[in-house]
């Protein structure tokens, strides 16, 4: 009984935190349904709802297609980054060579270089090998910053998983890669989920590479939405509506991956 009361109290506290935190998001969502004139009114809650902004963005010549492009690029770059990245993080955390630290450093530091500096040479290479204005090309560019990120993110998670399970499996005669895939991966699921979500997100919202490396065909959503900023004043309604739509896929990905976060593992529970 006590447990239920505590659960309920925790739920209330959590709910209030979420509500407060989400207030600006609610402003964004609501603005998508307001006429521009109401967005700047003193009373944010009274307004005449309208679907005009949504109508405009869905009939926009480029927005729906750009969403598709963004989805392809984000999924591809997240998939590759998480697969290769988790393997690398596993290797780096389990086989401790002296140069491991240096490798990790280089991976992280490379991510520190401002994208505009990297965008120019990227453009030049991609252009010469024909990867410009191409979903594959943009995915590769995104992998270049997602992969190091995933490795850095996963290292602490992997390192803090006790080795008994793998050692037991080795005793049973499993090969290293099998151990990695069947034993380790499920144990590290929480970290991997987080890494996947963030890799997807970084790619989804990314602007500069998308600006420089795409043209009419591979244009992604952030570029189109940026145009709603207007040369002068933003088109608030459309901006908010498009921004809200852009939230949905990432939210969906997060929600669906949440069930893979297995909590509170206990030793002795080795599956399979």
């Amino acid at each position: 009984m006590r447990k239920r009361v505590i659960s309920f109290v925790v739920l209330l506290v959590a709910l209030s935190i979420v509500l407060i935190e989400l207030f600006p998001i609610m402003v964004v969502i609501v603005n998508g349904f307001k006429r521009d004139i109401d967005i700047w009114s003193k009373n944010p809650f009274y307004f005449k709802p309208t679907l005009r902004s949504y109508q405009l963005i869905f009939t926009h010549r480029e927005f729906p297609r750009s969403l598709r492009n963004s989805f392809v690029v984000a999924s591809l770059s997240a998939l590759v980054s998480v697969s290769l990245g988790s393997m690398a993080a596993y290797g780096l955390s389990r086989f401790n060579f002296k140069f491991n630290d240096a490798l990790i450093f280089i991976l992280l530091m490379v991510r520190m270089i401002p994208q505009i500096s990297l965008a120019v040479p990227f453009y030049m290479i991609f252009r010469s090998i024909g990867l410009n204005d191409n979903v594959l090309g943009l995915s590769l560019a995104h992998i270049s910053f997602n992969l190091p990120y995933v490795v850095a993110l996963l290292l602490p998670f992997f390192s803090s998983i006790p080795r008994e399970y793998e050692e037991a499996a080795k005793v049973d005669g499993c090969k290293t890669f099998q151990i990695f895939l069947k034993i380790f991966f499920p144990l590290a699921s929480a970290g991997i989920v987080v890494a996947a979500v963030f890799a997807f997100l970084m790619s989804w919202n990314e602007f500069i590479y998308a600006l420089v490396l795409t043209g009419t065909r591979a244009k992604t959503a952030p570029i189109v939405v940026n145009a709603f900023l207007g040369q002068y004043a933003p088109l608030w309604g459309q901006l908010s509506a498009a921004g809200t739509i852009m939230l949905l896929p990432v939210f969906a990905v997060t929600l669906s991956l949440q069930r893979y976060i297995i909590r509170g593992l206990s030793a002795g529970g080795i599956k399979g």
Binding site: D36, I37, R61, A227, Q231, Y232, A233, W236
Partner: protein
């Protein structure tokens, strides 16, 4: 057999003739309206058009990455007027644009001379202005109607669209007692603030930078600049709260909600003000040139220029597209879709003056057009001007100090680049 050969020959010639012109423009209602006219263009000329629209804040960077002296990924590009000096070395001079078959070069007489100058650098025209973009002045005629008698009693002259800055100040003072803000500035630290500074400086009779054969001279008259700053600060007293951080979003919102009596705006923002769904003042606005300062009336100009890069592959096709864009028929077809023309004849055309009263305002204003300093390194100079201007009008720094710093820093920039 012969029929097949003829077909093949025709097909071959057609494919050889079917050029593709790649156009890079900024993204807004005007350029989006162009898309509607593309099928007609493609049918008439056989040229396929690949139109790429990019957010205007990032257009210059994308252009510079994609266009160099040696290669160009685009055949026709749009350049914002202040960037012409920078980009000039990459562009084919207008005089050398190729001869075209389908559309003719627009008559220079029909394009307002001061708009043409936007595309000029060191004596050469580098491209065509595709929109007549210039400060226009907005005034609420319903407010004039409502208070004109009272105003006349107090100030002794008819309330009307302010012809001088002093009149604007008088009316602003009067209206502040009625709970109306007389005027709204632009004070965000971006290009818009530089425009305000130039507008005021020119209205009070001074330029900032002058191009000479040997280089550049800072010609800012300190006395006049200080007068301009002080007047602006006076006006600021009658601006809405938060006016020291007013960007387009804020001022258009304030004006659309009916809180501001009179202010400048760029033509691209005007359609929203005349849209009853977005504005409470639709139909109540008069469009004119800005009020005159002690020296003259000044309207800051900001035209977009379309130009052909030297390294472009399809120069003829690009010229065709540009001429098509500028043609009167295209203008007529696309104005209802959001195009703002650069041609005098279209701007003055009475067919548009009822639904688009600001066209006449643009025409009026363009006569008083002034330009921002022409310099290859314009952005750095613009930053100096705007930072010191904003420091002065916000009261962080005294006008004298601000003006001194402005001159000093511009000279430093000139020195840095070897002038």
């Amino acid at each position: 057999m012969r029929k097949w050969l003829i077909c093949l020959a025709v097909l071959l010639t057609l494919t050889l003739m079917a050029a593709t012109v790649r156009v890079l423009l900024w993204d807004d209602a005007l350029t989006q309206a162009l898309r509607e006219g593309l099928p007609e263009f493609e049918k008439k000329t056989g040229i396929k058009v690949e139109l790429e629209l990019v957010p205007s804040g990032t257009l210059l960077q994308k252009t510079l990455i994609s266009v160099t002296a040696e290669r160009s990924d685009y055949d026709l590009i749009a350049v914002d007027e202040p960037n012409i000096p920078l980009v000039a070395p990459l562009l084919l001079p207008f005089a050398q644009w190729p001869e075209t078959k389908f559309y003719t070069r627009p008559s220079m007489a029909d394009i307002m001379p001061l708009a043409l100058e936007a595309g000029q650098w060191k004596g050469e025209f580098k491209g065509l202005p595709v929109n007549a973009n210039v400060y226009i002045w907005l005034t609420r005629k319903d407010i004039i109607e409502k208070y004109k008698d009272e105003f006349k009693k107090e100030y002794g002259y008819e309330m009307r669209v302010p012809k001088t800055l002093q009149e604007l100040l008088d009316m602003a003072k009067f209206l502040s007692k009625k709970g109306i803000y007389g005027w709204a500035p632009f004070t965000k630290p971006t290009e818009g603030a530089t425009c305000e500074a130039i507008w005021m400086f020119e209205s009070f009779g001074t330029k900032v930078l002058q191009v000479t054969d040997k280089g550049y001279n800072v010609v800012l008259d300190k006395q006049k600049a200080i007068e301009a700053i002080n007047f602006y600060r006076e006006l600021l007293k009658y601006a809405p709260p938060g006016a020291l951080d007013y960007g387009h979003a804020e001022r258009v919102a304030a004006f659309s909600r009916g809180e501001v009596f009179s202010m400048f705006n760029w033509p691209a923002l005007v359609p929203d003000i005349e849209n009853p769904e977005k504005s409470l003042v639709a139909g109540n606005v008069v469009y004119t040139e800005p009020p005159a300062g002690p020296a003259k009336a000044a309207a800051v100009r900001g035209c977009w220029i379309v130009a052909i890069p030297l390294a472009a592959k399809e120069k003829t096709a690009a010229a065709e597209f540009a001429y098509w864009w500028m043609s009167v028929e295209t203008g007529r077809k696309l104005i209802p879709k959001g195009l703002t023309p650069a041609r005098e004849s279209l701007l003055k055309d009475p067919a548009y003056s009822k639904e688009r009263p600001w066209f006449l305002g643009i025409y009026q204003s363009m006569k008083y057009a002034v330009e921002r300093p022409r310099f290859e390194r314009y952005p750095e100079v613009s930053q100096v001007i705007r930072n010191n201007w904003l420091d002065a009008v916000s009261g962080r720094v005294s006008p004298e100090v601000a003006v001194d710093r402005m001159v000093e820093e511009i000279n430093a920039v000139l020195k840095k680049y070897g002038y």
